[in-house]
Symmetry: C2
Subunit: 178 residues, 2 copies
């Protein structure tokens, strides 16, 4: 699956939430997500632009791999996810295979949906507030068009393309802790 | 978790099943298991004596890591397992991380329990019939004593210690296909 994604920092999350709902988005739930990121022994995911993560979200857990970003303007990348039952054992297996935990990102995520857009309003511990808009496509061929449609939606929310960010929360946390 | 395990080839599985039940074991179900084994790009699990496997068993799926054997007489080793929901996505993540599928072992397993022993009577495609007796312990310190108690039980079934096998089904399949 290809996740077409655009992200931006948010100054006034309450105002932005009102704007999203005014534009017709439906709230679909709030999650608390604790994401532990791993790095490989034999290659640095920071350099290869990959990510490997265990997410624990309100009692549910997922293992996720993200491939390198596929364009120069968005956070679009290949993403594969598996629901897992025991995140502690999963972490142990990853460590035994040579993947070591690097850092943890904790956030409260408000989810919205409008058409085929998934919108997340994130309050990230130590980093602040962000919006992420995402569309899943099967094929990278269609991603450019989807990126442009997300940019257009962002503009309606008063967020110009120049304000979007391509850095992951993990990269931001690691920079902050340097 | 340490899995203390002893295994042997079986000539007459029906007779052996009767003997197991006569000794007081309780049948606890029959599974069909399809195990896909992966090898690492940066180290050969055949040489490091590790194993990484996705098991699909009657609609349930598991990811399992097995460490090197811990003694010279049994198949005792560290084992960590996670129940997973989507084995296809798990296989894709492993491949993206540099682990490639090597071979698949398919078997019908009849499970029995007696005390803290788990007994499996396996009918393995292309390999034949085997018995595996297993005890889980938290600490490798107690494993020697447990191995000896399994050997004693095996003897009651007419299987002498010399007839036990330390090779995995994967190793046997790979040897056969050479």
């Amino acid at each position: 699956m290809i996740e077409v994604e655009v992200k931006a920092r948010v100054d006034d999350p309450k105002q932005l939430e009102r704007s999203i709902i005014e534009l017709g988005a439906t709230p679909i739930g709030i999650d608390t997500q604790t994401d532990t990121y791993f790095n490989a022994e034999d290659r640095d995911f920071g350099k290869t632009d990959e990510a490997l993560r265990i997410r624990v979200q309100d009692g549910k857990s997922f293992l996720t791999y993200k491939g390198p970003k596929l364009d120069k303007i968005s956070k679009t990348r290949k993403e594969v996810e598996v629901k897992i039952i025991d995140p502690k054992n999963m972490g142990q297996i990853l460590t035994l295979l040579g993947f070591l935990p690097v850092s943890t990102v904790i956030k409260k995520r408000k989810n919205f949906r409008i058409g085929d857009f998934f919108i997340a309003l994130d309050e990230v511990r130590d980093l602040g507030n962000f919006i992420e808009i995402e569309i899943s496509v099967n094929d990278a061929k269609n991603s450019d068009e989807k990126v442009q449609s997300i940019f257009k939606f962002m503009e309606k929310l008063g967020i110009s393309r120049e304000l979007t960010i391509r850095k992951s929360y993990l990269e931001m946390i690691l920079e902050k802790n340097k």
